[in-house]
Point group: C2
Chain length 332, copies 2
């Protein structure tokens, strides 16, 4: 937990609820982080998460010296299907007991602070768009390569949700029709070709097919391959790992080039655990491939950036959402 | 040319400039078409197109009995790279002599009517979104299968251009990385798999490889295969034509499913010459494939529709753009 003095009476709080931790920040109107705190998610049922959120808020106030009355609003990022307009969590990707739970209503009732909700990846994109790699650009496309591959869209300066509220499901776009089998029984989907899960699967397959790799022992022992392991193997130029990462980067480039053609965003932000671990394996090759695919004008006017906020992105997006909503509560 | 009495003092004109004809309509504030006229594009240089546009406007006024003062504004759809914000045509896809030509400035100066410009496919999407298959929906994705495959996006009720102004270049999205070679040296692009050009190429290849088809004679004689020919051969269940169309429809479905995941639009509109000629070859199969790919919520909230306005779509979009711009000239 860090401590600074608040610079403004209009502070907001962003809270990123994950499978293992609830991560919170307090920010001022310039998106400066005044305090951070994190708590274990523990069992992760609704009452426990509510209690964690309350504790986070109290800790942030204590650490910063701010009063509850200094907090204009609070924004929560949550994994899994939810209704951002109504603040209801339909279900949670890795947490039990969430079934159409009215999270913002409960948080607002308990804390007396207006609260808002969105998908964690959407808020990561919003955070990067406004206060990170997007640098405030109007149209930003975010892709996050982690356990899965998720995405978000900021269009016209606002999070874009589409009719169903599910927009940004970039992992289930098809870039190689008929290709490798991925999640949801889809062949050639972005997630099935670029997520850490897909990358690790391919490394394991190659090792099982007899290719030599630094990771052979741990793969054969059935240990989980983490981003940190990929990073070490890439740094040591392990051929299997380098080949698979190059292939994933190529597919990221295919996606990004296609998105440049469809949406011509100001900025494409690439983030997530894989990008943080091996940015040099992903970014240059993805750019090279995207450049080949993009129409020249779209390429010229857009930039492709590594995410800048790291673990803060989702919570920052929550704090920014809270400020935007508090300023004009009627907007999408 | 048809004739009706104007229902409102706030009329607008939409003009669709194509390679062979300049097609114009006069509409009232309810998007009712009061008069239509078309002229051959002829040589298609800037002075000739300007003269054609002027003649169209005069003919529309004469046919409807409206006065020039009844016309609030005029919207022009044009093929090829242009700057919609400045009203400048950078170049034209099939017309000579267009090099950064300030079309709207010239039209406004000659006719005394505020005029606006956009890409013909964008305006086709806008026309369908507001007055056709989109039925006024907020977020509409349009795909048009013709000589090439083009697209447009209406988001939040407005045409979306992106940073470069080129958004909607759906033909150059990649759906089968490493697949069949298409335009711009791109493998597995939407255009290379779904346009009439791609469809005809594949029919020709199959016939040249010895497969039997009703089209064998005209292909061997080197005659151009038109949409009408495809329609007849599809109606007679010609195997080569049916197979190739089924494959194109599948790829349309891959695109549409991916777009449902990314953008979750209210409506996807499928139009263009191929769709008009053989809707039953394209739409059912495309829907089936898209349904498999789309996340369930996006599928549930979106609809996939055949375009409803036919040849009027682009001009209708022009008339609607003109009304939107005249009402709030500052908007994107």
């Amino acid at each position: 937990m860090s401590r600074r003095t608040p610079k403004s009476a209009q502070l907001t709080i962003g809270i990123d609820v994950g499978g293992t931790k609830v991560y919170s920040i307090l920010v001022d109107s310039q998106n400066r982080i005044l305090a951070r705190t994190k708590k274990k998610t523990k069992e992760g049922t609704p009452p426990i998460v509510l209690e964690r959120i309350e504790t986070c808020v109290q800790d942030l106030l204590k650490a910063s010296g701010a009063a509850a009355s200094d907090i204009a609003a609070l924004g929560i990022g949550f994994p899994g299907p939810l209704d951002p307009r109504k603040g209801i969590v339909m279900e949670a990707t890795n947490l039990p007991g969430w079934n159409h739970f009215p999270l913002t209503q409960e948080v607002t009732a308990h804390l007396g602070i207006p609260s808002y909700l969105d998908n964690d990846v959407n808020l990561g994109t919003l955070g990067e768009a406004k206060a990170g790699a997007g640098n405030g650009a109007e149209n930003v496309f975010g892709v996050f390569l982690g356990t899965g591959t998720g995405g978000g869209l900021v269009l016209g300066g606002q999070l874009y949700h589409g009719k169903s509220g599910t927009a940004g499901e970039v992992g289930h776009m098809i870039i190689h029709h008929g290709g490798r089998m991925g999640p949801r029984g889809l062949r050639g989907s972005v997630e099935g070709l670029t997520s850490r899960t897909a990358i690790v699967q391919q490394i394991v397959e190659r090792i099982e097919n007899g290719e030599k790799s630094m990771l052979s022992d741990e793969v054969k022992a059935g240990r989980r391959v983490r981003s940190g392991t990929l990073k070490k193997a890439f740094a040591k130029k392990d051929k299997v790992v380098c080949d698979v990462l190059r292939d994933a980067a190529e597919h990221v480039g295919v996606l990004v080039g296609s998105i440049l053609n469809l949406l011509a965003p100001d900025v494409v932000v690439l983030g997530g655990g894989v990008m943080e671990a091996v940015p040099d394996a992903i970014l240059p090759r993805a750019k090279e491939v995207a450049r080949h695919i993009a129409v020249p004008d779209a390429w010229k006017h857009s930039t492709i950036q590594a995410a800048a906020l790291g673990d803060d992105a989702g919570a920052m997006g929550g704090a920014i959402l809270a400020r935007m909503k508090a300023a004009s509560p009627g907007r999408g």
